[in-house]
C-alpha cells in the first residue's frame, strides 16, 4: 500500500485499452461476471444432482468439508472407517481452478498474509462444518433437498457473517500478500496430482490395517459416483468457480457490507436447480427429522454454521473458495486448506464431529471455543502491520 501511494501509478499495466469506450468495457465486465455466476450455479447444481444420482451420498453431491474429511481419512489421518475415500471431486476442483487461472492469465503465486492465523481459522471452520455436517455448499444442497435443519444452519451462517463484517468495518485486514516464487504457488496443484495418482494406484502400505489408501466399505465413505465422473465434475466446477469467484460467504458479506447481491446469484441458482431436480425425481422430502446425514440439534446446527460463517469472512472465503484460491497460486489459501484438513482429522480423532444421532459433547465445546478463538483472531488482526501492509 505504502510505496505506491507516494509514487504515481505506473507499474505492470501494459497493453492498455485506452481510446476504447472504457465505461462500456467496465460495464461489460460486471455483466459478464453476473452471467458467469448464474451459469456456474446452474452447472454446480446439475453436477451435484448428477453425482448424487450416480452414487454420492444423499444431499451430498458435493461437500467440500465432508469430502476433504474423507480424503484425510483415506490417507489414514483419522480412523473413522465410515468416512474414508479419496474423493476425486476435491482434486478436480483444485486442478480445474489451476487450469482456469493459468489459461486466463490469472495464476499468481502469492503468500505471506497471516498464514498461521488462516491455518487456525481454517481448522475451526472445519470443526464447525463437521458439527453441522456440511460446508456452505452442502448446506444449500441440503436445503434444496428439503432438509430444514439446513435452514437453521443458514440462519446461523448469516448470523456469523454479521460480526465478521463488523470486524471488517473496524479494520480487520490480514495484510497484503506478496508475490512469491511460482514453484511455491504450484504446491497445491502438485499435491492434487499426487492424490490423483493415489486414486488409481491405491497402494497398501500396512497390509494388516488394509491401508492407506483406505476406502470405506460402509457408511457415507462407501457411497460414491464413478471416479471419472467425480473427477470431471470436480474439474468443471473448479474451472467455473475460479472464473466466477463463487463464494457463499462472500455473497452474504458483500450484501451486508456494500449492498452488492451479485455473488448470491450463483448460490440461489444452485438452490433452485437442486430443488427442481430432487422434486422431479421424488427425492425431495421436507422436514427436520430423518434427513440423510443430518441431525436435528438446532442450537448446534445454528452455532456451528455461525462459526463457519464468521471464519469464512475472517479468511476471505468459504471452504470452496479457499480450495479454488489454493489452486490459483494463493499460498495463504493453501495454508487455510491445510488447517481445514487438520481440523477434519482432529474432529474425528477427538470425537468433535456430529453424526445422524447428534452432536458429541466435545463437538459442542469445540464450536464454542472456535467461536471465541476466531473472533479473537479477528479482533487482533485489525489495523495495519508495522510496515504498513
Amino acid at each position: 500500500m505504502t510505496s505506491l501511494n507516494q509514487a504515481p501509478v505506473e507499474p505492470a499495466v501494459r497493453g492498455t485499452t485506452k481510446g476504447r469506450d472504457m465505461d462500456a468495457i467496465a460495464a461489460r465486465l460486471v455483466y459478464q461476471q453476473r452471467l458467469f455466476l448464474f451459469g456456474t450455479g446452474a452447472a454446480v447444481g446439475i453436477a451435484a444432482l448428477w453425482l448424487m444420482f450416480a452414487g454420492n451420498p444423499p444431499n451430498m453431491g458435493f461437500c467440500i468439508a465432508c469430502f476433504s474429511r474423507d480424503i484425510v481419512g483415506a490417507l489414514g489421518f483419522h480412523r473413522a472407517s465410515a468416512v474414508q475415500y479419496l474423493r476425486p471431486e476435491i482434486i478436480g476442483i483444485v486442478l480445474g481452478a489451476a487450469l482456469a487461472a493459468m489459461v486466463g492469465g490469472e495464476f499468481k503465486a502469492k503468500g505471506g498474509s497471516a498464514p498461521l492465523s488462516r491455518f487456525v481459522v481454517g481448522f475451526f471452520i472445519m470443526v464447525g462444518a463437521l458439527v453441522f455436517l456440511g460446508c456452505p455448499l452442502r448446506m444449500v444442497l441440503r436445503l434444496g433437498g428439503g432438509d430444514l435443519n439446513a435452514l437453521v444452519g443458514l440462519a446461523g451462517f448469516v448470523t456469523g457473517i454479521i460480526p465478521g463484517t463488523i470486524l471488517l468495518r473496524t479494520g480487520l485486514n490480514l495484510g497484503a500478500a506478496r508475490t512469491i516464487r511460482r514453484a511455491d504457488g504450484v504446491v497445491p496443484v502438485a499435491v492434487a496430482l499426487v492424490l490423483l495418482v493415489l486414486i488409481f494406484a491405491r497402494p497398501i502400505a500396512d497390509a494388516a490395517a488394509g491401508g492407506p489408501v483406505f476406502a470405506s466399505t460402509s457408511g457415507p465413505g462407501s457411497m460414491h459416483a464413478p471416479i471419472l465422473l467425480s473427477l470431471v465434475a470436480g474439474l468443471v466446477v473448479g474451472i467455473l468457480a475460479q472464473r466466477a469467484r463463487l463464494c457463499f460467504a462472500g455473497g452474504w458479506r458483500d450484501l451486508i457490507l456494500v449492498r452488492d447481491w451479485s455473488q448470491l446469484v450463483g448460490y440461489m441458482t444452485i438452490l433452485v436447480i437442486v430443488f427442481v431436480g430432487t422434486a422431479a425425481t421424488g427425492r425431495f422430502h421436507v422436514g427436520f427429522a430423518g434427513q440423510p446425514i443430518a441431525h436435528t440439534e438446532w442450537v448446534w446446527n445454528f452455532l456451528a454454521m455461525a462459526l463457519v460463517g464468521l471464519g469464512s469472512v475472517v479468511i476471505g472465503g468459504c471452504p470452496l473458495r479457499q480450495l479454488v484460491l489454493a489452486g490459483s497460486g494463493d499460498a495463504d489459501a493453501g495454508v487455510s486448506v491445510l488447517g481445514m484438513l487438520v481440523g477434519a482429522a482432529t474432529s474425528h480423532n477427538f470425537i468433535f464431529a456430529a453424526g445422524p444421532t447428534g452432536v458429541p459433547v466435545g463437538g459442542k465445546v469445540a464450536v464454542l471455543v472456535g467461536l471465541g478463538v476466531v473472533f479473537t483472531i479477528g479482533l487482533l488482526l485489525r489495523g495495519q502491520t508495522q510496515d504498513g501492509a
Binding site: 500500500m1 505504502t2 510505496s3 505506491l4 501511494n5 507516494q6 504515481p8 501509478v9 507499474p11 505492470a12 499495466v13 501494459r14 497493453g15 492498455t16 485499452t17 485506452k18 472504457m22 465505461d23 468495457i25 467496465a26 460495464a27 465486465l29 460486471v30 461476471q33 493459468m102 489459461v103 486466463g104 492469465g105 490469472e106 495464476f107 499468481k108 502469492k110 498474509s113 471488517l168 468495518r169 473496524t170 479494520g171 485486514n173 490480514l174 497484503a176 500478500a177 506478496r178 508475490t179 469467484r245 463464494c247 462472500g250 458479506r253 458483500d254 457490507l257 456494500v258 449492498r259 452488492d260 447481491w261 451479485s262 479468511i315 476471505g316 472465503g317 495463504d332 489495523g383 495495519q384
Partner: protein
C-alpha cells in the same frame, strides 16, 4: 481505521492512487469506498482480477464514472485485472443506487 494516507495529504480533494493488489476480499472494495467517502474526486486503483468487478460495481453504485485498462496477465494474455480510474461525477448526474 486507517484511511488512504495520501487522501488526507491531498486534503481530500484531488486525485489519489491506491494499490490494492495482494489484499484479500473484501478489503479492496472497502478501501475504495473509504476513499470515495472521504471526498476524493478522482481515484486510480490497481487491483487484482478477483476484485476488479466488485470495485467497478461499487464505483458505479456511487454514481462514479469508471474507466478500466487491463494489465497483461501472467501468461502474456490480457487478464481482467488492471487499473481502474474512477471519477466522481457532478452530484446532479449521479445515478441512483442500482444494486
Amino acid at each position: 481505521m486507517d484511511g488512504p494516507r495520501d487522501v488526507e495529504r491531498a486534503g481530500g480533494a484531488c486525485c489519489s492512487n491506491l494499490d490494492l493488489r495482494g489484499l484479500s476480499c473484501p478489503i479492496p472494495v472497502l478501501r475504495v469506498r473509504e476513499a470515495l467517502e472521504s471526498g476524493v474526486n478522482e481515484l486510480r486503483v490497481l487491483a487484482e482480477p478477483a476484485s476488479v468487478a466488485n470495485i467497478i460495481r461499487l464505483a458505479q453504485s456511487k454514481g462514479c464514472q469508471v474507466e478500466f485498462s487491463d494489465s497483461t496477465g501472467t501468461t502474456g494474455r490480457p487478464s481482467p485485472g488492471g487499473e481502474i480510474r474512477i471519477k466522481r461525477l457532478p452530484a446532479e448526474n449521479k445515478r441512483r443506487d442500482n444494486l
